[in-house]
């Protein structure tokens, strides 16, 4: 029942948007309200898991399951979706899109949300894969909403790289299943997480190593781990801001979730630090590429995309640093979801105001639009890991975990790379906030009433920086207990 409450609203929203032609603002509002149902269901699951209760199951062949990790991701995806649908174009604000475009947008974004929610609630690894592949398809269709050379280019690169990645993840899934079938025969529930995890210790480490490489490269492509990150700046830069917000926050979290799920199985089978070392290596590479790409970026949307690569690297680090690292990584994931879902909307508003997404052309933001500029600054400072925002805490926890695991050189290098990125971020932010605005840009806010939900997001970031809410902490503790060996 709760699973239906979680999954159906987005399907109903997509259907509603399909039926109502031409698009009306009421549809947008209704869909935003409906997504609250999903969020409610996700919170109930999270509460259930935090109390340490048995994970609820649903459907034929125990198709869906909601343990602590799933519940945490459900909350992240559902919250980001609610925020996105509320701030969407055509919901109570003026917009440049035509009605046909808005209708297409509402259909596709809700299908996109549905597939993400399905991916995190799927009990079967192959169903999770099918859902993740579907996210690629729906988002690739949505990137060229306003058709231009650059948006079509971005979409082509995205679907090509994304499809190859997800295909390799499927090869990895098959390789994992391969050994499993040899062990247990063809059982009905063979591809379910609990069965997989239970039999993992008996699997051949050599086979699992090969499978995990395929899975890490495959799902890593979806998450944008370097060197498979090249689609990210293009897609985030050219997608409609609402989609970019959802891709960089929720979709990214779902891809990391897939990696973590498989890593748990791989650890149980391999029994040494093979998966950890791979994650640490790719994490360091992501941090390095991100730091130098930020330094070269001239476009603030692409800069945000490289910031995503940076945080991908940090979260990879966390996943490779034992139980305390996983705790920090998941906390970081929650923070990142909150920050990124705000930033792309703000970037979209700024671009509309200035008619350009180049850092050079964007001057005097604080004078032109103090609320937009202020929120953008706050969000970027949060992404840099400064207090009093949540990411300061999670990064601190992450580095502590790293030093506790005796990786001083690695953590030192990571800190240095963060510093390089920090300097580039701060000079760009400085350039955007102050100075003389171009003469043709009229002063005045574009956010309007939407400042309220955005402030809520920013407040959540500050709250996570000042305190770790008790329910979240117990939930993370529960997850950590199930993750650690």
């Amino acid at each position: 029942m709760k699973f239906l409450l979680l999954l159906l609203p987005s399907l109903i929203s997509a259907l509603g948007a399909y039926v109502v032609r031409p698009y009306r603002a009421t549809v947008g509002w209704l869909n935003a309200l409906l997504s609250l149902l999903s969020l409610g269901a996700a919170l109930v699951f999270a509460g259930h898991a935090a109390r340490g209760a048995e994970a609820p199951l649903f459907g034929p062949g125990e198709l869906l399951r909601a343990d602590g990790l799933s519940a945490l991701l459900m909350v992240c995806v559902a919250a980001a979706s609610t925020l996105t649908l509320t701030l969407s174009p055509g919901v109570g604000t003026e917009t440049d899109y035509t009605h046909a475009q808005l209708r297409r947008y509402q259909i596709l974004i809700n299908l996109f949300i549905f597939s993400m929610l399905l991916a995190v609630s799927a009990n079967n690894v192959a169903v999770m894969w099918v859902a993740l592949e579907a996210t690629t398809i729906f988002s690739a269709l949505l990137i060229p909403l306003t058709r231009s050379k650059s948006s079509v280019e971005a979409s082509w690169k995205y679907i090509l790289i994304g499809s190859v990645g997800i295909a390799l993840a499927f090869a990895g899934t098959v390789l994992g299943y391969f050994d499993f079938v040899a062990l247990t025969g063809r059982a009905e529930n063979a591809l379910n997480w609990p069965a997989l995890l239970q039999n993992a210790p008996a699997m051949h480490p050599e086979v699992m190593k090969l499978a995990f490489v395929f899975l890490l490269v495959g799902y890593g492509t979806k998450a944008g781990i370097a060197p498979m990150h090249t689609w990210k700046p293009d897609a985030y830069g050219e997608a409609p801001p609402a989609l970019a917000a959802l891709m960089s926050s929720a979709l990214f979290a779902v891809a990391m979730y897939a990696i973590l799920r498989w890593k748990i199985v791989a650890d149980a089978a391999i029994k040494d630090h093979y998966a950890d070392n791979l994650l640490l290596a790719l994490g360091l590479l992501s941090l390095a590429i991100a730091a130098f790409s930020v330094a070269q970026s001239r476009n603030y949307k692409r800069m945000l995309a490289y910031s995503s690569v940076e945080h991908t690297g940090l979260i990879c680090f966390g996943l490779g640093l034992g139980a305390a690292g996983v705790f920090a990584a998941l906390l970081h994931l929650v923070n990142h979801t909150a920050a990124k879902s705000l930033m792309f909307f703000l970037a979209g508003d700024i671009e509309r105001k200035y008619g350009s997404s180049a850092v050079k052309q964007t001057r005097g933001l604080l004078k032109v639009a103090p609320w937009t500029g202020g929120l953008f600054a706050a969000g970027l400072l949060a992404l840099m890991g400064l207090p009093p925002f949540g990411m300061f805490i999670s990064e601190f926890a992450l580095f502590r975990a790293g030093f506790a695991q005796h990786h001083p050189w690695l953590m030192g290098a990571a800190l240095l790379l963060l510093l390089v990125a920090f300097v580039s971020f701060i000079t760009r932010l400085n350039n955007m906030l102050y100075g003389e605005a171009p003469a043709e840009v009229a002063a005045g806010e574009t956010v309007g009433w939407r400042v309220a939900p955005m402030l809520l997001g920013a407040l959540a970031l500050v709250a996570l920086g000042l305190t770790l809410p008790a329910p979240l902490e117990t939930l993370l503790d529960q997850i950590m207990r199930s993750v650690s060996r």
Partner: protein
């Protein structure tokens, strides 16, 4: 190993080799017509492999998969592909980034590499089909190479389809097929993914007046 298994093993290796050969055929031909034809034959060989494993492995579900494969990848998708290149023109893969001789050498290296990386699998497996597994992984790598080395958006799509066939072959050989319900989901995704790529090719053709991906280089820094 009884004689039945021995025949099965030989037939499975033969079929997998055929599937791989049609994949490599992409590398020595240049016209898109030949690409589509090679893909069609490859899918047929793949369907045959599924039916074979279904027969010897006593798994009726695989017959269903073989039929779906024929409908989807021998009839529907090649049909769409033919219509696509007739509409957008550009029948030849004029100049791939890597020339034919080098491409063939690289694909040979990729297949040898796949023998090296699948060694642990082949040694732990007791399946009669195990000797085909390196060929399937080789096909996956060749598919990725086709995508990287070709310039026409259409050739890249075919490269992707070949990659998918490689994975399907791996699933068939290694596990005697994944559960049917999952297989159906995979097919649905494959079809939708293909259709979206097709839409994008039309959009690329409309906005750039060509499907040469060389022109897709506006987005930097």
């Amino acid at each position: 190993m009884n004689s039945n298994d021995a025949i099965f093993a030989q037939l499975a290796t033969l079929c997998s080799s055929l599937v791989l050969l049609f994949g490599i055929a992409l590398l020595w031909r240049r016209s898109l017509v030949a690409y589509v034809r090679a893909f069609r034959w490859q899918s047929l060989a793949l369907a045959l492999t599924f039916a074979l494993i279904g027969y010897f492995g006593h798994n009726r579900e695989l017959y269903v998969v073989a039929v779906i494969l024929i409908v989807l990848k021998v009839v529907i998708i090649p049909g769409y592909l033919t219509r696509l290149y007739e509409r957008v023109g550009g029948k030849r893969e004029a100049q791939p980034y890597v020339n034919i001789a080098t491409s063939l050498i690289i694909s040979g290296l990729l297949v040898s590499l796949s023998y090296a990386i699948t060694r642990p699998l082949v040694t732990v497996s007791k399946l009669p089909t195990r000797n085909g597994i390196p060929l399937a992984v080789g096909l996956i790598l060749v598919g990725v190479f086709v995508i990287i080395s070709r310039r026409k958006a259409l050739s890249q799509i075919i490269g992707f389809l070949v990659l998918e066939n490689g994975i399907a072959l791996l699933a068939a050989l290694g596990t005697y097929g994944i559960p049917l319900i999952v297989e159906l989901g995979v097919f649905l995704d494959a079809l939708m993914g293909f259709l979206v790529m097709q839409i994008l090719v039309y959009q690329i053709n409309d906005t750039f007046e060509s499907i040469d991906v060389e022109q897709l280089s506006r987005l930097r820094h």
